[in-house]
Symmetry: C2
Subunit: 120 residues, 2 copies
DNA sequence: CACATCGTTCGATGAGCGTCGAAGAATCAC
DNA sequence: GTGATTCTTCGACGCTCATCGAACGATGTG
């Protein structure tokens, strides 16, 4: 279980789409990847975050991908509107936009995260 | 609304994966396409089928794709385990495997089909 | 039988994705 | 400042995907 941390006042919010612009196909496409699903589950296990991106990736030892690939996946999740990311010093703080996703696609995230995951 | 039809005894069942082999990423990937989502909604509107594949495609006038492309999308849905298809004479009869999908991924199909769809 | 109907299969094409290593940017520690 | 840490960006690579038209197969109709 990854430790939750708090977001500093001076942390910068990385660009993300507003709730109303979340599209179903984009969200589903973002969820349809085993690496991203694994990362999301780590965050969900930590109460949806916020957690350190580095801790998140390290908490999933079955993910054997380069740092640039992981960074790419974080961006896909963020661009889809599923996660929110703040940059805080050298670290990135990530959390699930549970309320936003739930408001637009009720039940979707629960169903996906509760489902037998990748490799199950 | 498309008319439901019955499946003949002699109709041949097209190959499909058993319930236990449905994978989350495959199902999500199959759902993450606007054309397939539209087709699925037509079937869902007809009580999950069974309906004629031709009627199904014709009931979605916003889908402007060739016949071969539509056929491809039906196959993706079938291979993912979301739909079941019987061939009956010259026609194909399609239905949603609601129980199977629900058993493996509870709430997923409801959430996706109830969500504001492609173009909404 | 010949012909039409319904759908699949077969290349082919162009776009996009997941992946990597190398280079870059920003921040912290000394 | 120098150097280490943390993550992003930048090509590049191979692969998959959505799409099409043309050809094919199977079935029904005359």
């Amino acid at each position: 279980m990854v430790r939750r941390i708090s977001i500093d006042e001076r942390a910068e919010l990385l660009p993300e789409p507003p709730v109303a612009e979340l599209t179903l196909t984009t969200v589903l496409a973002a969820l349809a990847d085993p690496v991203r699903l694994t990362l999301l589950r780590v965050i969900a296990d930590a109460g949806d975050g916020p957690i350190d991106c580095g801790d998140c990736a390290a908490a999933a030892p079955d993910i054997t991908r380069s740092e640039s690939t992981i960074s790419h996946h974080y961006k896909v999740l963020r661009d889809a509107g599923i996660t929110r990311t703040h940059k805080q010093g050298r670290h990135r703080i990530i959390e699930i936009r549970r309320g936003d996703v739930e408001a637009r696609f009720p039940g979707l995230l629960d169903a996906v995260l509760a489902a037998p995951g990748p490799g199950a």
